[in-house]
């Protein structure tokens, strides 16, 4: 005997159960996600492990409820652009200046206050004051310290085109920080200089990696001798294993290899909670948050008076004055160059 209702009933029951067990959690979150006055909505391209505790600190200090949406910086910037006028986001907290610049260019960020912008030095914020850097990261060469000492490495990233580095270099050309560096290279060395450098590295058969972390790992694993990355990834590995086989080499003296990029935040043009949004920006620039960035992510604090952790470079150690971050918005030009050379 067939029981025709058995299957639909089973499915229905399963569905109801699933909704029921979900709705327990829903009760606590829904009042804050619905409606425009539900609390501050932050789109964070920065990681939850990093931002979560910081947001809790802010909520406690300010009494403002914050809803954070986590994702990839570029994907979330694209999301804000696609959302148009109905974007629920109040604040965008991004991982690199490029995405912030793209939002600013599209007119999606409001101007910040003089007080906020005054806390951060030039070169670490938008010219027109539409976004502000909250922490800085320097480009470095990470090298395998079992194979090389710092003295073995050239003082300029330009010298890695020498044949002695053939087969020993790793890079992550699809990575946003890398492309920002190439843009800086174009600004400093000119279009031809940048092209020559890229061709020179390509002639050295670089290992193509997907991101900074993979590059550091490949260096420590001895797959390559040196990789071009951001400074802070190394310290996470060192915290897990003090004998980790990789060290950072800084490029100073205005070398493009030592470019400083920022993570930063801006308030959206469509924000419904503008005051609360600005309070969050204030908090991100406060001593408490700046110290948190220094200690938790090994980044370089940007607000005056807070120093990086021991071992991490300070703003004075790295190239700052020579490249204006606002000139780094020509990612399209960089991408065209990289595509033309068959790199990405």
């Amino acid at each position: 005997m067939q029981r025709p209702w058995k299957l639909p009933t089973m499915i229905l029951v399963a569905g109801l159960l699933a909704s029921a067990c979900g709705s327990d959690d829903e009760g606590s979150t829904d009042p804050t996600t619905d409606g425009p006055d539900a609390g501050l909505v932050v789109y964070s391209g920065r990681n939850e492990d990093l931002v979560g505790p910081l947001i809790e600190m802010f909520e406690e200090a300010s009494g403002i409820t914050v809803e954070v949406r986590y994702g990839d910086t570029a994907e979330m910037a694209a999301q804000i652009l696609e959302e148009g006028d109905n974007s629920p986001a109040d604040v965008f907290f991004g991982q690199d200046a490029g995405a912030l610049g793209a939002l600013a260019t599209e007119g999606r960020l409001q101007e910040l206050s003089e007080t906020q912008l005054g806390l951060v030095g030039d070169g670490l914020k938008d010219d027109a004051g539409r976004w502000v850097g909250t922490s800085a990261r320097a480009r470095v060469a990470v090298y395998n310290n079992e194979e090389l000492t710092e003295a073995d490495l050239p003082d300029s990233i330009l010298d890695f085109v020498e044949p002695e580095w053939k087969g020993r270099i790793g890079w992550a050309p699809t990575n946003g920080s890398f492309q920002a560096f190439v843009t800086a290279l174009r600004v400093i060395e000119g279009e031809d200089g940048a092209r020559a450098w890229l061709e020179g590295i390509q002639a050295n058969d670089p290992l193509v990696l997907d991101n900074n972390v993979a590059t550091v790992e490949a260096v420590a694993a001895g797959e390559i001798s040196v990789g071009f990355v951001n400074h802070y990834y190394l310290y996470q590995f060192l915290a897990e294993d003090p004998d980790y086989a990789a060290s950072n080499k800084l490029f100073s003296g205005g070398d493009a290899g030592g470019l400083v990029n920022v993570a930063g935040a801006g308030v959206l043009d469509t924000a419904t909670n503008v005051d609360e949004a600005n309070e969050l920006i204030d908090f991100l620039l406060s001593e408490e948050a700046q110290t948190y960035f220094a200690e938790e992510t090994y980044e370089i604090p940007v607000a005056d008076g807070v120093e990086p952790v021991e071992g991490v470079p300070t703003l004075d150690d790295v190239t700052l004055a020579t490249v204006d971050l606002n000139k780094l918005d020509d990612l399209a030009g960089t991408l065209a160059l990289l595509t033309d050379l068959g790199i990405v």
Binding site: Q2, R3, P4, W5, L7, P8, I11, A14, G15, A18, S19, C21, G22, D24, D25, T29, D30, T33, V41, N47, E48, D49, L50, E67, V68, R69, Y70, G71, D72, A74, E75, M76, A77, A78, Q79, L81, E82, E83, G84, N86, P88, G98, A99, A102, T174, Q179, V208, L209, D210, V213, E217, A218, A221, E223, Y233, E240, L331, L335, T339, G342
Partner: protein, 573 residues
Amino acid sequence: MTSPARWRCSPTWGSSDPPDSPADRRAGILAVMEIVTPARRGADHAGPTRRARRRPAPGLALGGLVVAAVALLPLGYLLIRSSEVGLDRALDIATSERTRGLLWRTGLLAVSVTAAAAAIAVPVAWLTVRTDLPLRRFWVVATALPLAIPTYVGGYAFIGAVGPRGILQGWLAPLGVESLPSLYGFWGAWLVLTLFTYPYVLLTVRSAVRGLDPSLEEASRTLGQGRWTTLRRVVLPQLRPSILAGSLLVALYTLSDFGAVSMLRFDSFTRAIFVQYRASLDRSTAAVLGLVLVAVTLVVLGGESAARRSGSYHRLHAGGSRRASVSPLGRWRWPAFGLLCGLLAVALVVPLAVVGTWFLRGLDAGEPIRLTTTLVGNSLRAAAVGALASVAAAWPVAVLAVRRGGRLGRLVEGACWVGHSLPGVVVALSLVFFGARVVPSIYQTHWMLTLAYVVLFLPQALGAIRSSLLQISPSLEEASRLLGRGSFATTFRVVLPLARSGLLAGAALVFLTCMKELPATLLLAPTGYPTLATQVWSATSEAFFARAALPALALVLLSSIPMAILVLRETDR
């Protein structure tokens, strides 16, 4: 089996040759007796070209059209964004040397992965259903489980296991092995994608093997054909739609996958699209590339449809209550067992062991255990609702396509596949675009997330339902209608129960895929709705593998359970 007609005797049974054993003889007789059950068989034996072609019921057609319209949203978005660069520039991008290279590489990967997946899946399906393989029930479940492992976890696991200075290298180092062949590039992506997608083919084929009408094989055997000839000329042709349905899923999955290709550094189409978004927020160029991918999908679909041809794959009788006999493997029994052990070791044990190692390493380092009931509940709920909605949306489309045929059926079915080959982020952004602008009231609610899952995974449910519908003789519905049942009652009392295994398989498949889905969940889930998949992503994106381990294990385990229950239930029937 309560039909009184069962006791009737076939006018032809006396003429069949005596089968091998008394048990087989009884089975054969029963089969022949079933064939003549008048209420259960069409008057003309449902010959090979027979297909019911009627005007679709208005409700069904409307349902199908609505589903197709929703499934076409990503295409609409891509057209809007592509039009921003102008036709000339768009054609330049689409026909550039770079695009052609990407197409060639990606196509090669899709073809190789699909071929390898089918080559694994068809024998495994046969072994686990129709032979006396040792521990058969265990294998039925275990061989389907690699599907529960997301490629972004599998990719990391393989790099950790057999990558440079990975675990295997560590073991081999004392033996003087300096380096292993590189995992990166084409072959690594091929391996990972094959191992974690072959169950798509396995599940559809296995369900078809179970639905096979044993009397056809028996007829072939009694007509003097050997076992291999029967397999080749009777069984394989009948499995064709299911092999094609599964292969289509694998091929399109390969086109759209980002996890494996990015981790194994294979420069595929999807990766190029991601680069456009991530490096330059260049939505227009990405959209043009997306359109090229849609065009490729249409070619693949056309190929599948041509290869499928029309034909009937249903039994001559309906019930399916008689189980086909088990073929003894003889001296191949243990070698087959060994092969399956090898497959299991590579596709399931290696990734789980590597993730387990992360977990233990994390425990050693004092990493707190981060697995909350909220996380688990969120994942289960989103995936369950997504699975239900996808099955419900696939039903009218499958019925239209299988039962009514015609241009409408083909168009509606084709439309449903468009979203499937696109990278998740493209589909997600298209729904961000329409959601925030057109229906802001449901944007970033559970409705929106469910809608995204339907657009992304509808074809998985469609494939399973379609295969099971093909195995139901239309004459059964006709009989029900002739006997005075309306179309609704016929659907519920005749078609749904018979398509049950397809519906459940489709739901389980979509459930599992929703569990591991990432880009759409990140962009479209309600704000503050973390799932296991987003936790794994969040931890691995910053290289906190120890933190990713527990959510990853929970993800695999929880998606395995419904799959295991379903698979076992099917076996026991």
